[in-house]
Amino acid sequence: MTKRKSDCEVAYAAGGGELRVRVDSSVGVLFGRAIERTAREAAAEFGVGSGELRVDDDGALDYAVAARVEAALRAAGFARVGPARAAGNAPAAPRRPIPWRSRLYLPGDQPDLFPNAGLFGADCLILDLEDSVMPSRKAEARILARRVLEAHRGFFGRSALVVRVNPLAGPFGRDDVAELGACLPDAILLPKCESPADVEALASELDSLESTARGGGRALIMALVETARGVVAAPSIAAASDRVCAVCFGAEDFSRDVGARRTAGGAEASLARQSVVLAAKAAGVQAHDSVYSDSDDDAGFAAYCEAARAMGFDGVGLVHPRQIAIAHRAFDPGPAELEEARRIVAALEEAASRGLGVASIEGKMIDAPVAERARRVVARASGEAR
C-alpha cells in the first residue's frame, strides 16, 4: 500500500469473530491506540462487529481516519445504522461578506490541506470534488468532505465554505450533494453549467435537503460556466434561482470547448469574459474570473487580476494561498475610490438626518446603485480594519 502524507489507507476483510483492527502507523507510538479507537467507532456506525480492518497510516487526523474507514466499509456493502452527525463546530467568527475577492481551490481528497485552510484569509474556500479528484477516488473524497464539515467547520475560519460538486448530469454529482445533505456548506459551486435547468435541478435538490435538515441555513449556488453553451446561456443561468450568488468563468475548459488557442493576452476569451460579467451584473450577482494557474508568477497574476477588475469582475479563482494577498490588493478599492465612497456615504447620512430623500455631491444627485456600491466599499474597508 502506498502511504499518503497525513492520510491513511484502510482495507476491510470480512471474517468471523470479533472485529480486529490492525494499525500500522508512522505515529503509532503516540496515536496507535487513538487510531484504533476511531476505527472501532466508525465501524460501529455501520454495525460492523466482525472481520478485520487494516489501517496503514501516516499521521491522519481523526476525521480522516473515520472517513477512510467509512469508505472501506461502504465499498464492502455496509450501510449506516442510525443517522449521520449533523454539522457541529460552527465557526466562531462571522463569514466574510460578499463580494468574495478570492476563491481558493483545495483538492478534496487531501486531508492535510484542511486544518490550516482557514488561516490564509481567503474570502472563500472551495473544497473540490470535481477536477482534482480522480474518478476512482470520488466516493473517498465526498465522505472525507462530509466528515470534515461535520466535525471541523472551525478549520475554515472566517472563509466562506464552498464545495465544488461534480456535474449533476454525470455519474457523481447527485451523490455528492446527497452526501452533504445534513451539513451543507455556505455554497455549492456547480461546474459545467450550460442551461438554467442545471441550476434549477441543484436548487430543487437543495430545497428538499434543507426542508429535512435541522439547521436553518440556506446554501447558495455559484454557477461555473466553462463552455460556449454555458457562456451564451449565462444571463438565464444567473437568473435561474435566487440561490445563485455568483457566475464564475472557467477559461481552460472554455478554450478547449470552442477550439481556441490560449494566448498570454487572453483575447480568445475576452468576449466570453465580458458576457459573464454582463450576465452576472444584470442579475445582481457576483462575477468571478477563472484561475491563473502559474502560482509562481506573482507579477503575471497581479496584472491578470488588474485586468479582471477593470472588466468588472469581483473576484478570481486561486490555486495557491500565496495568491490571496495579490488578489485582495487588486480587487480592494484603491485609496482614491475609498475616499470617494466615504464622501458619498457621508453625504447620504447627512441628507437622511435632514429628512431628505435624495442626496447630492457637488450639485450632482447620487444614484441608488452608486449609493449602494459606496456603502459596500466603506463597510468592507471598516470590516477589514477590525
Binding site: 497525513s6 505515529v27 507510538v29 503516540l30 496507535g32 491506540r33 499521521g59 490550516n116 488561516l119 494561498p321
Partner: protein
C-alpha cells in the same frame, strides 16, 4: 546510576563512563574559571621543530597513514561534515580500522548524514563504542535502541569546540577531508572538484588533536591558498582518488518552499522582525537553509528593500539566497561556517565580503564575544517546544534520537533575540508539549516561538511582547496554542523508555542539560 536533578528539573547522571558530570545550572552560569596561567586558547605548533629541510608529510596510501597514526582500541577519532551527504571519508576510515581489528573507538563527528547510515553495523559489532558530538538518522536510531556500548555525548558546534579547548574531548587523530591541500598540509574547501566552501568545523580538531591527517583529492603544489587548516598543525597528508560525491556535497536547495504553512510562518517571522524594530539599519541575523528559514530570509529582504534598510551581516550557513542579498547590497557581509549550495561556495571563494569563520569565532562559549553574540536575531527550528519554552531538536516525540544540535543552542544563547519557527503540529503530532521529550536548548534563552497560529513570547521578554502587542501582531500563549492543537490532533501517548541513559545532552559549558534514554522493548543486539 546516580542521578542529580538539574536547574530545569531534568534528572542527569553524576558521571558517565567514569567521568564526572556537572548538572546544568543556568544558561550563563558557565563553568569555574580556568586556573591562573591557563592559555587563552590552545593549539598552535606543539610539534618538535623539524631539522633543516622540507617536511615530508605525503604518505603512499591508507595503510601507511593508519600505520603511522598508530591507533589503539578505545582511541578517539574525529571528522567534519562539510562534505555532507557526499562524504566518503568517515565510512572509509571506520571500515579500514575495523579491518585492522580495532574496537571500542569513539568517533567525534561534527554531524552525520544518511550516507553514514553504513556505520550502524560497526556500532552493533563493537568497533564503534560511542559517538561524541552529533548523531543523525540511522546512527541516532541505533543509539536509541541501545546498540551503542558507551554513553553518547551530544554537543552543539560551540559546545564541541569548547570541549576540545577544555580537554573534555581528547582527540587521538583528526581525519580532515580537504577539497584542496598541499603536501605540507595547508588546506581549504574553496577549490578543487570537491569544493564545499569553508573548511571551518575541523579547525579546533587541527589545533588540538594528537595527530592530524589531511585527506585530499585536490593536491596542489605548496602553497595552498587561501588556508583554512594550517600545515603547521598537520602531521600527514594522503592523496586519494575521491573524498566524496561532489553532487551530494552541496545538496541544499534555494528554491522557495511551496508549503503554504511554511510560507505563512516565514511571513509572520519577517513581520515580527520588522514590526518589533529588530530590523533597522545595520542589524544582523542568522537563518538556516531549511524551508521556513529560507523563506523568512526572502520575506525579510522584501521588507528591507521596501524600507530602505540594510543589514550589516548575516551569519551561519550560507545559501544562494544570502549571496543574492550580498550582491544586491542589502547585506554588508556574510560570516559563513558552512556553504549549502554552489552559489555560496563561489561567493565564499570570490567575494572578500563573504568571510569564512571557525566554530570559535562563530560560537565559541569561551570566546570573548563571537559572531553569534553580535547577532540581533537568530531564526531557528524545533521538533518540540514546551510550556517553559524549552526546545527539543534532538529527538522525535516517539523518543527516537534522530538529529544533532548544530549551532542551535549557541545561536539561541548568544543572539539578542532568538526566534524559534515551527508549525504547531506535524502530521498528527503536536509540536507544543507540556514537557519536551528532550531539552536541547533551555527556555531561558528562547525568546519567541512563531507558528502558523500566532506568535508566543517568553514572559522573560516583556520588552518584545510590548512591542509586538503595539504592532498588532497575533500573540498567543503556548498553553492556549497547545489546547487549540490538541482539539484536533488528540493528546499523544508517551513513549516508553527503559532506564538506561544512552546519550547525554551537554549545554555549551559542558554541564548536563538532559539525557536520552533507551527506548523500551528493544531487542538486545
Amino acid at each position: 546510576m546516580n542521578l542529580i536533578r538539574n536547574s530545569i528539573g531534568r534528572d542527569v547522571p553524576a558521571s558517565i563512563d567514569g567521568k564526572p558530570l556537572r548538572p546544568y545550572a543556568g544558561a550563563y552560569e558557565d563553568s569555574p574559571a580556568l586556573p591562573a596561567g591557563s592559555p587563552r586558547t590552545i593549539g598552535g605548533p606543539r610539534r618538535p621543530a623539524p631539522a633543516r629541510g622540507k617536511p615530508d608529510k605525503l604518505v603512499a596510501g591508507w595503510d601507511e597513514l593508519l600505520d603511522r597514526l598508530d591507533l589503539k582500541d578505545g582511541s578517539t577519532i574525529s571528522f567534519h561534515h562539510h562534505l555532507r551527504d557526499g562524504d566518503a571519508v568517515i565510512n572509509e576510515v571506520v571500515a579500514r580500522l575495523a579491518a585492522r581489528g580495532l574496537r571500542d573507538l569513539t568517533i567525534a563527528p561534527t554531524a552525520l548524514f544518511p550516507v553514514h547510515d553504513r556505520l550502524v553495523p560497526f556500532i552493533e559489532s563493537g568497533v564503534i563504542a560511542k559517538v561524541e558530538g552529533s548523531m543523525n538518522g540511522a546512527v541516532g536510531a541505533a543509539c536509541s535502541r541501545g546498540a551503542m556500548k558507551g554513553t553518547a555525548v551530544l554537543r552543539s558546534h560551540g559546545g564541541r569546540q569548547r570541549a576540545i579547548q577544555d580537554g573534555d574531548l581528547h582527540i587521538d587523530a583528526a581525519f580532515i577531508a580537504a577539497p584542496c591541500a598541499d603536501p605540507a598540509g595547508n588546506a581549504n574547501g574553496l577549490l578543487g572538484r570537491s569544493a564545499c566552501g569553508p573548511l571551518a568545523y575541523p579547525v579546533p580538531d587541527s589545533l588540538a588533536a594528537d595527530k592530524v591527517a589531511v585527506i585530499t583529492d585536490g593536491l596542489v603544489p605548496y602553497p595552498c591558498a587561501p588556508r583554512s587548516i594550517s600545515g603547521g598543525n598537520v602531521d600527514w597528508v594522503l592523496e586519494v582518488e575521491s573524498i566524496g560525491d561532489a553532487s551530494r556535497i552541496v545538496s541544499g536547495t534555494t528554491r522557495l518552499t511551496r508549503s503554504p504553512t511554511q510560507l505563512l510562518i516565514a511571513e509572520l517571522t519577517a513581520r515580527f522582525i520588522e514590526e518589533t524594530g529588530v530590523m533597522r539599519d545595520g542589524f544582523s541575523f542568522q537563518a538556516g537553509a531549511g524551508g521556513i528559514s529560507l523563506a523568512a530570509t526572502v520575506f525579510l529582504a522584501e521588507r528591507m528593500r521596501a524600507r530602505g534598510v540594510k543589514a550589516s551581516f548575516a551569519h551561519g550557513g550560507a545559501t544562494g539566497v544570502l549571496v543574492g542579498l550580498l550582491e544586491e547590497g542589502l547585506l554588508g557581509s556574510i560570516v559563513d561556517l558552512q556553504s549549502f549550495d554552489l552559489e555560496a561556495v563561489r561567493s565564499c571563494r570570490d567575494d572578500a565580503r563573504h568571510i569564512e569563520s571557525t566554530p570559535f569565532d562563530s560560537y565559541g562559549p569561551r570566546a570573548s564575544g563571537s559572531a553569534a553574540s553580535m547577532l540581533d536575531a537568530a531564526i531557528l527550528g524545533a521538533t518540540e517546544v514546551d510550556l517553559d519554552f524549552n526546545v527539543n531538536v534532538n529527538t522525535h516525540s516517539d523518543g527516537l534520537l534522530l538529529h544533532g544540535i548544530g549551532g542551535h543552542a549557541d545561536a539561541a544563547a548568544s543572539a539578542a533575540c532568538s526566534i524559534i519557527t515551527a508549525p504547531s503540529f506535524r502530521k498528527r503530532i503536536p509540536i507544543v508539549r507540556e514537557r519536551v521529550t528532550t531539552v536541547s536548548c533551555p527556555g531561558e534563552v528562547v525568546d519567541v516561538v512563531v507558528t502558523e497560529r500566532g506568535v508566543a513570547i517568553n514572559p522573560r521578554r516583556g520588552d518584545l511582547a510590548d512591542r509586538a502587542r503595539r504592532a498588532g501582531l497575533p500573540l498567543v500563549s503556548l498553553g492556549d496554542l497547545m489546547t487549540e492543537i490538541r482539539a484536533f490532533t488528540g493528546v499523544p501517548d508517551e513513549p516508553e523508555f527503559g532506564d538506561r541513559v544512552v546519550a547525554v545532552v551537554e549545554w555549551r559549558d559542558g554541564t548536563a542539560l538532559d539525557v536520552v534514554r533507551e527506548l523500551a522493548g528493544q531487542p538486545r543486539p
